[in-house]
Symmetry: C2
Subunit: 110 residues, 2 copies
């Protein structure tokens, strides 16, 4: 999954969420899918990308137009419930870093 490419050149904010999954999976996939769908409807959402290895460690980076958009997403009621569930059931360890993207470049093959 890759972030929306049209946003490459625009200054934006990134939320880097790294986490270690526990073996408890009940409800995780449904909630993750629901949060992805919900995030897309939030003002200022620009895209996201995610990877998780077989060791359970994963990184999700979401991109936003502003820090206000990030704060607004963080406090959405459904998202708050998902965060609480994540802390309780799904993650043994996580870290959130908010960062302002200052430049970006890359390569995409035809």
């Amino acid at each position: 999954m890759t972030a929306d490419r049209q946003n490459e050149k625009r200054a934006c904010y990134a939320v880097i969420f790294s986490s270690v999954r526990k073996n408890e999976h009940h409800g995780y996939d449904e909630t993750a899918a629901a949060m992805e769908t919900l995030a897309r409807t939030m003002p200022g959402y620009l895209g996201h990308e995610a990877a998780r290895g077989s060791d359970g460690f994963g990184i999700t980076v979401s991109y936003w137009e502003s820090e206000d958009a990030i704060a607004n997403w963080k406090r959405h009621a459904d998202h708050l419930a998902a965060q609480q569930r994540g802390r309780k059931d799904w993650y043994s360890d996580y870290m959130v870093r908010v960062a302002r993207v200052t430049r970006s470049y890359g390569m995409k093959r035809a």
Copy 2:
């Protein structure tokens, strides 16, 4: 793999490298290990974390004390050779984003 935890509270810079691996693996593991070892010796290196899923999409985030430290790492001769090899052989698609971390928080269980 998680970034060095003692750096959580310090403002720092992140390099978000997202990539899609091709099926060509020759030399990749050796070079990735060598680059990780080399990065640890670079001035201003704070830590890194990486995840790659079975679909070949991966995210590596490295953390640095300054943008100068990032520029210095980017132009290291061995790293330049690895970057060239990556573009030619290992990645079908990649994106680099440089970002200034403005805040971080998380949870680590005992």
